[in-house]
């Protein structure tokens, strides 16, 4: 069956890519960067040769490289990412704690920016040349050209600073709130970071959807639909948009990687306690175990979403099922 082979191929491909990422991570930190130097933070921790040797043994750095790699793989699959330099706690624990807030932020932002961006793009393309189209195109381009971190700063200064409408950071206030009040508090804290991320990526969705729909509008089958006597909005809804949505759909999933990246800066700007803030701190303090783990997780997440996109796309576009 064509579709089963297609599925299998995509999954195998994802696993292969993940393996390469693991290998890359390993090679980069063990074979290229001097592990001892990295472990002792560039020599800032002064260890005498005996202590260095002990360190080597503890981390198995004396073993042949292939053996190290196998150990590394085993460790990774068990979730053993080592210990953070900064906090001394297991990396996996740090990540688990900070993952929730980030998922919340990135999840909501992605959905909103995709939904709003797509709607704007559709309306702009369908009424090409109208005031809405020109305006929204310009707006989308401007948003697309803004660095998200900087946009976050502006929004913070304006709305939290000058106007004081929103809290200036964190995920919840220090008062112990429960139930509905807690929800409201969460929303207030989420609002600005979420707004920033949404605005940052909305533009791209709008632009891509617009181009895609414009291309589809020039296709013959749209004219066929019109000639059949189908109403304008149904031509758009049933014929044009479903075809134009295909590339946008793929983009939405592929964007997750970029949105995750954008989250790093945004969380720092808004002091939002998520993986982004963790990453930022890790860079600042050269906390390599954390950096490595983030790289791995980030890559795994993107690989997963790409796989998801490919699989779902197969259901959306009937032409693709042919293996």
């Amino acid at each position: 069956m064509g579709s089963r082979r297609y599925l299998l191929r995509k999954v195998l491909h994802a696993i292969a890519t993940l393996t390469f990422v693991l290998a890359f991570n390993f090679v980069l930190f063990r074979a290229i960067g001097d592990p001892v130097k990295l472990l002792t933070r560039g020599g800032s921790l002064h260890l005498d040769p005996k202590e260095q040797q002990a360190l080597r043994e503890e981390f198995g750095l004396d073993d042949p490289l292939p053996a190290q790699f196998v150990n590394y793989l085993g460790d990774t699959l068990r979730g053993e990412f080592g210990y953070s330099f900064a906090s001394g706690r297991p990396v996996i624990k740090e990540i688990r704690e900070k993952m929730g807030p980030t998922l919340l932020l990135v999840g909501i932002s992605t959905l909103l920016s995709a939904a709003i961006g797509i709607l704007i793009g559709i309306k702009g393309a369908w009424r090409r040349g109208s005031a809405f189209d020109t305006g929204s195109l310009l707006g989308s381009l401007t948003l697309y050209s803004m660095p998200e971190g900087w946009l976050g700063m502006i929004l913070l200064i304006t709305f939290a600073g000058t106007l004081g409408w929103f809290p200036s950071g964190g995920i919840e206030s220090t008062d112990q709130l429960t139930g509905f009040a807690h929800l409201v508090d969460l929303s207030k804290h989420l609002f600005l970071p979420c707004l920033t991320l949404t605005l940052g990526y909305l533009g791209e969705f709008a632009i891509i959807m617009r181009s895609s729909l414009l291309e589809v509008m020039g296709e013959d089958f749209v004219q066929t639909a019109r000639a059949k006597g189908v109403r304008d909005k149904d031509v758009r809804r049933r014929h044009a948009v479903p075809n134009a949505l295909l590339p946008t759909f793929t983009l939405a999933f592929y964007s997750v990687g970029f949105i995750l990246g954008g989250a790093v800066l945004i969380e720092q700007v808004f002091s939002y306690p998520g993986l982004g803030q963790l990453t930022y701190g890790a860079i600042d303090q050269e906390d390599f175990p954390v950096i490595q783990a983030i790289f791995l997780l980030g890559s795994a997440a993107v690989i997963f979403f790409n796989l998801l996109a490919d699989i779902l796309y197969g259901y959306l576009d009937p032409r693709v099922k042919e293996a």
Binding site: L28, P147, G149, W150, L156, E215, G261, Y280, I283
Partner: protein, 318 residues
Amino acid sequence: MITSPHQPDDLTVGTEAAPPPAPRDPKKIKWLRRKRALAGFWLVYRQSKMGMVGLILLVTFIFLALAAPLLVSRTDLGVSDPPGAPFLRPSGEFPLGTDDFGRSVLDLVIYGSRISLIVGFAATVMTMTVGAAVGIIGGYYGGKTDTLMNALTNWFLVIPWIPLAIVLASILGRSLFNTILVIGLTSWAGTARLVRADTLSVKERPYVERARALGASNWHLVSRHILPNVMPVIFANTVLTVALSILAETTLSLLGLGDPSSISWGGVIFDAFDAGALSAGLWWWLIPPGICICLVTLAFTMCGYALDEVLNPKIRER
């Protein structure tokens, strides 16, 4: 034979006196054709309002970057002997206030244009060269070569660029060259994919088949047929890549991965953020560099989209 009125009668009239015959030299014909194509291209491009606005903005900033050394003295940028007191608000002497060292923010913004643009262009050169090479080689040769190139491209495409950039920068260290390297390494795959797709379609065109049947060498086919026809796609993509590279440089700087010793717009914002400008509400320090980044990126993007419209007739308005 027409004689030039200034020619003395006893001289034999040669071709210098005759009106210039239509150029039969193939090189000249090629150049004439190119000039005409360029003129036609410019005519269509001019019609795009977006493209023209973008172009004007672009020229303005490039001019600014080139003129920066004349507008700002190097000593004013040094931290050892700053022209003013730190954290000053905007005033007549310092229209954008001063930074945490006492340097004029306006000076920093003007001078920052140089690094931001240089990194943008340099990273783009790297991206386009590697990307186009991989794309064309894979697309043209097909088979195992293509599988390899494609696998490489897909791998780089899948990896989220910020974690990769972080990893590379942590290992390689922070310098201008490394910034360019990191941006190039994380961007070339997008170009490669585009170029490969275009190469595949150009490869199927009849004149390529014909040339191959006539016994043209691979090098000839690639340089004379494939490359010139893939150029429009590469060119439009280049302009958009510069925009993305400038944004990437900003992001890297804001993460603290930029070169601490060079002044770029992203770097200025980072310094401001690091010095607590955000909580102190020192908007005059934070906002102007960002506006510049925004405008320059906008300019490149608008030009890029205008180019796309010129080169892709399907989305051009009838």
